[in-house]
Symmetry: C2
Subunit: 162 residues, 2 copies
DNA sequence: TATTGTTATACTCTATAACTATA
DNA sequence: TATAGTTATAGAGTATAACAATA
């Protein structure tokens, strides 16, 4: 189960192909989606397939690496997931031995999620693979342009640290 | 059927909330996903809910507006959809009276997809709503920054017209 | 034999509602 | 009563395989 998908060949033809983008050229959501297709292929190659991690699982791993013992509620908020969705996600990764849930001492309604040593090892491996992936992904931009892109995306959502 | 979803309130708390993004701060795919959440909310408010159009349906409408009589194969390529997925999408929109498929004279395997007058009217309405949406969405950026963001996203995927 | 589009099928993603337990 | 997490259920999205017609 969870068979790794097909090996996904190299950079395919630009998504738009022969057609005129028309009004979509000025629609940010569409351009973000196009870029996400591109990023998704790089992700599958570098992380998804070799490490058998879905994008959300990878994000969760990175988030826990930086925020050990977080409550599910905060994780769901950060990943923009519904509470039930996060629960099944945690179930799956706990069953895989990557993380563990324990009861909180302060508020006994909530829980604390932590990476197991195995989860930490995978997180480090994934973080390393991510660095390689980023290089390949951003190869068409100068370092300055890459940094600018990150800053603009962040600013767009009203998040600090520009 | 196709009941419009909940009215989705104003700009909610930044997705990351209280947690540290950790390594994700440098992962383009994650930052694109965060921005897409933001864009998706604006889309639902301005277009999705009022016009009862899913993102793909909106994109298809815009694409047909600029490329009347396109073949399904080209549409699928431009939208990064599988052929079966596009078929059901076209079925749904044809049933709704927005477009029509006809046989091609040159190659009788393929077909030509065209907007009906009703589809054209909705496309124009959607394009107008998109312009309003973009203004709200890009309000945190200067016009120059907005243009730069579009250019960088395009360059990232190796698409021309920078 | 290769290609276009379609149908059938199944699996993943994601949301809502209902339930349990704490506060 | 409000909140955190879970369970159950359903629906939307998406992929693969099998098929039909045409090239």
């Amino acid at each position: 189960m969870t068979a790794p998908p097909a090996p996904d060949d190299d950079d395919r033809a630009p998504a738009t192909g022969l057609l005129d983008e028309g009004a979509l050229a000025q629609v940010l959501g569409y351009q973000l989606a196009q870029a996400s297709v591109h990023a998704g292929r790089a992700y599958a190659r570098s992380i998804g397939t070799p490490l058998e991690l879905r994008p959300v699982e990878f994000s969760l791993l990175m988030l826990l690496q930086a925020n050990d013992g977080s409550a599910p509620k905060h994780l769901a908020g950060a990943l923009a997931l519904s509470a039930p969705h996060l629960t099944v996600l945690l179930d799956r990764m706990e069953e895989r031995g990557l993380l563990a849930r324990s009861d909180s001492a302060q508020d006994r309604r909530t829980r604390e999620v932590r990476l197991t040593p195995q989860g930490q090892a995978l997180a480090e491996q994934a973080a390393e693979a991510a660095r390689t992936m980023e290089q390949a992904l951003l190869q068409r931009l100068t370092p300055g342009e890459g940094a600018l892109l990150f800053e603009l995306l962040r600013k767009l959502c009203g998040r600090p640290r520009c």
